[in-house]
Subunit: 242 residues, 2 copies
DNA sequence: CAGTGGTCTAGACCACCTC
DNA sequence: AGGTGGTCTAGACCACTGG
């Protein structure tokens, strides 16, 4: 069989890997500036243009952010602009209100077949299951059930979660050093079960958006699996196709 | 009030505009190669690197496609790979079958408030309304209702549409010279009305994905408005968040 | 082989931010 | 003024395609 491995790796990709390694190791932390292109070029022994191309790709992947005149910064989920990066639900009238996350419960379990496959861990490994509601202007709109690998999120409790002001991903970033970089979603229409109906304040059977998400960190490692139930009477899932 | 207009436009963006102009004018047709970077650089009186950066952006926007050793080509909806560019519905089991489009009916009307606003045409202007079904392996999965500005799609008939083998957008591209470049979608969960239920072979009230799409051509000009009803029991809407 | 896009370099200058 | 990223140039060489 033919292999699809690239026959050749350009220098700027190798530099890119080195930068990612440094990010992964925590050498530069979220929100901070990384060294200037000149410094990186000297450090890696290449020209500035080559560093530039590596950084360009990482900026396109939302890992780094360039600010002219100031420097290049590590993207952080603390940045309010990152809030809607993974949440594509917006009000029909276009008003921009920051939703509030309300944790419901949180317990330990062992990974079953499906969770193990999705999170790429052995069956029976510890996982943490978390349920929460997202409220827009005080009204519940989203019910999330979140599965996390226990090893990565060691020590997560409902109480620490309740104290947190801000997004779940900013919480994960500071408390567990886990940076969510990209995600894949599978979306369907389903009927509300009793649980979802009660939580969202609608009748059982109401059509809801089912949004199943797998979120990845460095090296395409899955670190979160969640299933959301979105009430879409006054909100919609917005997507840009390019 | 402060203006958000850019205070300065780099050379490569001006070159990009010139390339887009040439594409728009039909100087280079879909599927064809555009002149080499060297030739373009000579024609516009800039260095190859500047042309390169302009082409890079157009390639990132899926307007052009680079093929090493061969040249740079105008993306065409005839390319089978473009089929799923705007259709994010995939089977749960991952099998890749090309769906078949079955036109149902097609009639003329005058634009109402909403259609006029979305398509950015005056109220009362002629529009064409088109309904069709998408079948996967012979089974109806999507019901689309499509609104088109009559001026652009002058002369569209159900019969010519029925003869066409291929995607709707490849039809639009060859028959009307309209190239769909990007789209925005609003997704919700709704209950199947009688029409949708009958067409898709499900009970009234079955949860369906409602996908409302506005599609744009050059200069961000809207040229299509459609509302789809997706049956998502064995298929799901796939989305990548980056 | 010649022609295409892809990479890499070195250097100059511009736009923006901060002190 | 001095630093950052952003643009532009010119030239060399590499990888891939097709005759």
């Amino acid at each position: 069989m033919a292999s699809n491995a690239p026959s050749f790796s350009p220098l700027y990709r190798q530099i890119k890997s080195l930068i990612v390694q440094a990010l992964e190791s925590g050498e530069w932390r979220p929100g901070e500036a990384i060294p200037s292109e000149q410094e990186l070029a000297a450090r890696f022994g290449v020209s500035q243009g080559t560093v530039r191309k590596a950084v360009d790709e990482l900026a396109a992947e939302n890992v780094l952010e360039r600010k002219q005149g100031k420097g290049t910064f590590v993207v952080s989920h603390h940045d309010p602009r990152q809030f809607f990066r993974f949440l594509r639900l917006v009000p029909d009238d276009g008003s921009l209100t920051q939703p509030q996350s309300v944790p419901l419960d949180c317990w330990r379990a062992k990974a079953g077949q499906e969770a193990a496959r999705v999170l790429q861990i052995p069956v029976g490994d510890p996982i943490i299951i978390l349920r929460r509601v997202l409220k827009f202007s005080g009204k519940p709109v989203v019910l999330d059930e979140i599965y996390l690998p226990g090893e990565v999120f060691e020590g997560l409790t409902l109480d620490t979660l309740k104290e947190w002001k801000g997004s779940l991903y900013s919480f994960f970033e500071t408390r567990f050093g886990v940076r969510m970089l990209r995600a894949e979603e599978r979306i369907r229409a389903v009927a509300a079960d009793r649980m979802a109906a009660e939580t969202l304040g609608v009748k059982e059977g109401t059509p809801l958006l089912s949004v199943e998400r797998v979120t990845y960190t460095y090296n395409d490692r899955p670190v979160e699996w969640r299933r959301g139930r979105y009430l879409t009477t006054q909100y919609h899932y917005h997507n840009e196709l390019t």
